[in-house]
Subunit: 517 residues, 2 copies
């Protein structure tokens, strides 16, 4: 048995049976081990951003880690942007990064890089397998790191000689993740005191507080005592749609977020961080809450939000009666040209029950979120770290984790182009992913940012950098090139029909929605 | 005038008038400044790997830096793999990486990352603009770093507030790069002593020693004294083809390289490093030279190779007579199915005079290099760092630097898929790039590596990770999707015709060469 074999066994021992991969020569012994492991499912990404984005989507839906397999520093580098998003999403991922044999590193062969330096900023844990003999121990530590709390990004560097060397393996009980942390009595009392004081209080939910249990408890408190409830601006996963108590989100636009939050004297954080401006602008604040806002951390990201919110309700002496559902009109498919309203309403109206929506709609994201509040019950996965280029890959991972659920990839055209190779993995694995490309043929959000500087008529260089025209991307051809059936629509009626057909079809479909605005 | 304006002026002062870009919100003030700069040419890449790969191609052909514009840590991360190749090529590149305003960093907004940690491994120099007032000084330092010696990768982090803040600018003489270092007398004498001693000597050329001047001098010494001449395994740029004294390269395969080098007692390095194995294998050596080989460094990468080799010839009392050109039969276009011989011969036979060849042919690279030795005169640009996924982007940069020269992008299919978005930039900029996709529908080199482990019949998981079929990529559609005309050929006659037509056409063309083997 060699180190690669032991690595494989250790992964399987801990329930890691899915490996998103793009291997190279230094990983070849481990590839041979994976080839022997009948219980392991390897899935190829044609680019490493696909691999890591898929692992993120998988973790968000499976609530457990997949492995990634990446080739040395440059392979890891290609996957870092989506690991950044995964880390911000607190997704559990175990990256296995192949490296040169230890005694070859001093020769500085062409692919030699400082993998630790590259991995650090986008990993919560970085380690290196010491030798073939320590593979089991080192891998177990890495898995424990990945499974800490809600989840972490753990990166384990695997020198080639640790994979090919003779290794020992001992059947062991797998590491059991820590139980969720119960709420602190002090935090409960402080939150309750503020709520009872009559000051305007907001429950700000993030992370796994956006699952149905904690959201229902928050809604009970809100309904009984007039406490506000909001979600963070971007969320790893939120259970949304009809029957859900999902709150509205903090807006991305600084002024709008400030308006949303200015009424609140106290912000009680449940799995959320104190909200800050996504970017700083010369004349705008760093944070979107009032300067005198009082913050209470009820639960940290890894804590037991459902239990904490239940306990808070009990401290507040409120019954477990079912809170009233938000009174929302269901979305109605639009008509005519595709604009922000007709498109988002149509997409929301046609959403099938139990769908998973990967939202990289960027400038359409907010409107879609509102339209979908009364859509069929679904999970919404968002861009958590602001590193665009995750949508098609996130959809791969979500579909692999949940093969029986339809996946909608609602995708801005500019962002889609970063890891568009994910379409091929969707085709190869026969994933039920419906991609809607929001085709406005420019980086719309940057147009807005430039206009805010007073530049509403960009010149040559700005137009060059902000427009995606000349030539326009031909999305049907791109999809076909990667083995995915594509179609183009430019009005809401055809979009509705295309979506309905696409959800019924087996395998992936791409719909280019040509936007009128 | 703000910091962005001053940055722009400083770039132009130093002759940096091309900016490969993929900007985001934090760079918007600098984008506005670029929009005012009529002498600056901005070129959009749809993905940052395109941006950095293009900057590398530009630097190799222009012998001066372009700027890149990248958006925060994730944008830089997406460009790192090709910066790795650029750094190994000693290309001059100035990366400008936008970041949050300095006083926004402590808020850890979603896109906050440790840019220095990410940039370090793939940069020779990393700096951060201190404030708007120091933009001119900081940028000048970064440019000086990029222009050190043959060239360096310099990464300058630009906080948003340094771009929007009021800045001073003072017209100054630009930094003049250091003159090339003259050869050391000791090294000359030592090299000459070995050559005269009768021991078997090899002149190993790398970097800019592979330009016509130094190669001619090396050929004079070789012809007169029976000294061997070789080039490094992968080279940033080599002037090749008919009339060139380009030597053969050290082979990639360890055993073959060992055979090439075992006759030599002494290796005299001119711009080259002592050759090592690209990867370490359990039963093979770290280095491909004999253990008792004596190394003499005649010139380092940044030194004046032409002068050193001329001086060595004079120390050896050899005349400046024209050495005999290698007696090579010109390539002859092949016929029938496309295999390693017919494809490489056909590509070499049809190569137009003055072409630039970007070689990411991977498993076909060696055969092509041999076939092209007597092709029309051309420059050959290779994969210097082993980070696959540079070819289509390298071609963009080469074509931008040399608009009057045809560019051939000889491209393995697997590697092509990493930064395939470069095709769109080729289309938008109307670049004369002819891409030949070597379509064998698998990672052929990894098949070879796996076979070396005794696995000639990969199972389910290995096949999943090594094959590019099911579905096969449809290259004509991919090209069309990005605005490039594509065609498919499966025999040498049609390949020759397609190539001839493509070189005559304006703008980019992609030819999928379906390989029989």
């Amino acid at each position: 048995m060699n180190g690669g074999d032991v690595l494989c066994l250790t992964l399987l021992d801990h329930g890691i049976d899915t490996c998103f991969a793009n291997p190279g020569t230094s990983e070849m012994h481990f590839v041979a081990s994976l080839d022997e492991a009948q219980d392991m499912r390897c899935i190829l990404g044609l680019f490493e951003g696909v691999v890591t984005g898929a692992a993120d989507g998988y973790a968000r839906m499976a609530d457990r880690p997949a492995a990634t397999l990446l080739h040395t520093g440059p392979g890891l580098a290609n996957g870092l942007a989506n690991l950044h998003n995964a880390r911000r999403a607190r997704s559990a991922i175990l990256n296995i990064v192949g490296d040169h044999a230890r005694d070859h590193l001093p020769y500085d062969a062409p692919l030699t890089t400082d993998i630790e330096s590259l991995a650090g900023p986008m990993s919560d844990w970085v380690g290196r397998v010491g030798s073939a003999r320590s593979v089991q121990q080192d891998t177990s530590m890495a898995i424990a790191a990945a499974r800490t709390g809600t989840g972490r990004v753990a990166t384990l560097i695997l020198p080639a000689d640790a994979a090919w060397g003779t290794a020992g393996y001992e059947a062991r009980n797998p590491v059991v993740p820590d139980a969720l942390v119960a709420p602190s009595k002090d935090a409960l009392d402080e939150a309750a005191r503020h709520i009872r004081s009559g000051r305007r209080c907001l429950l700000l939910l993030g992370g796994r507080a956006l699952r149905s249990g904690p959201m229902r408890e928050a809604a009970r408190i809100a309904a009984a005592l007039g406490v506000g409830v909001l979600a963070e601006q971007a969320n790893a996963r939120c259970q949304k749609g009809r029957g859900s108590f999902a709150p509205q989100r903090i807006e991305y636009v600084v002024d709008k977020a400030v308006s949303q939050l200015e009424a609140f004297d106290v912000v009680i954080l449940a799995g959320a961080r104190a909200p800050v401006s996504f970017f700083k602008y010369p004349d705008k604040p760093h944070v979107v809450t009032r300067e005198d806002t009082v913050f209470v951390e009820l639960t940290g990201a890894d804590d037991d939000h459902a239990e904490a919110l239940r306990a808070l309700r009990e401290v507040l002496r409120l019954p477990a009666t079912e809170p009233p559902l938000p009174d929302l009109a269901g979305p109605v498919a639009g008509s005519g040209p595709l604009d922000m309203s007709s498109l988002t309403q149509t997409v929301a109206a046609t959403l099938p029950e139990g769908a998973i929506v990967c939202d990289e709609a960027i400038s359409y994201s907010h409107a879609y979120g509102n339209a979908a509040r009364a859509a069929a019950s679904h999970d919404l996965l968002q861009l958590t770290g602001g590193a665009i280029g995750i949508g098609p890959s996130l959809a791969v991972g979500a579909a692999v984790a949940c093969p029986d659920r339809p996946v909608l990839s609602l995708q801005a055209d500019g962002s889609a182009l970063y890891t568009i190779q994910a379409l091929w993995t969707q085709a190869r694995e026969g994933l039920n992913v419906v991609t809607v490309i929001l085709s406005n043929r420019r980086y719309q959000s940057l147009y807005g940012e430039l206009a805010n500087l007073g530049r509403t008529a960009p010149g040559r260089n700005a137009s060059t950098m902000l427009n995606l025209d000349n030539p326009a991307l031909d999305w049907i051809s791109i999809a076909r090139g990667f083995g995915v059936r594509g179609m183009r629509v430019d009005n809401a009626e055809n979009l509705a029909k295309a979506l309905t057909d696409a959800y019924r079809a087996e395998g992936p479909v791409l719909i280019e929605a040509v936007l009128a605005d």
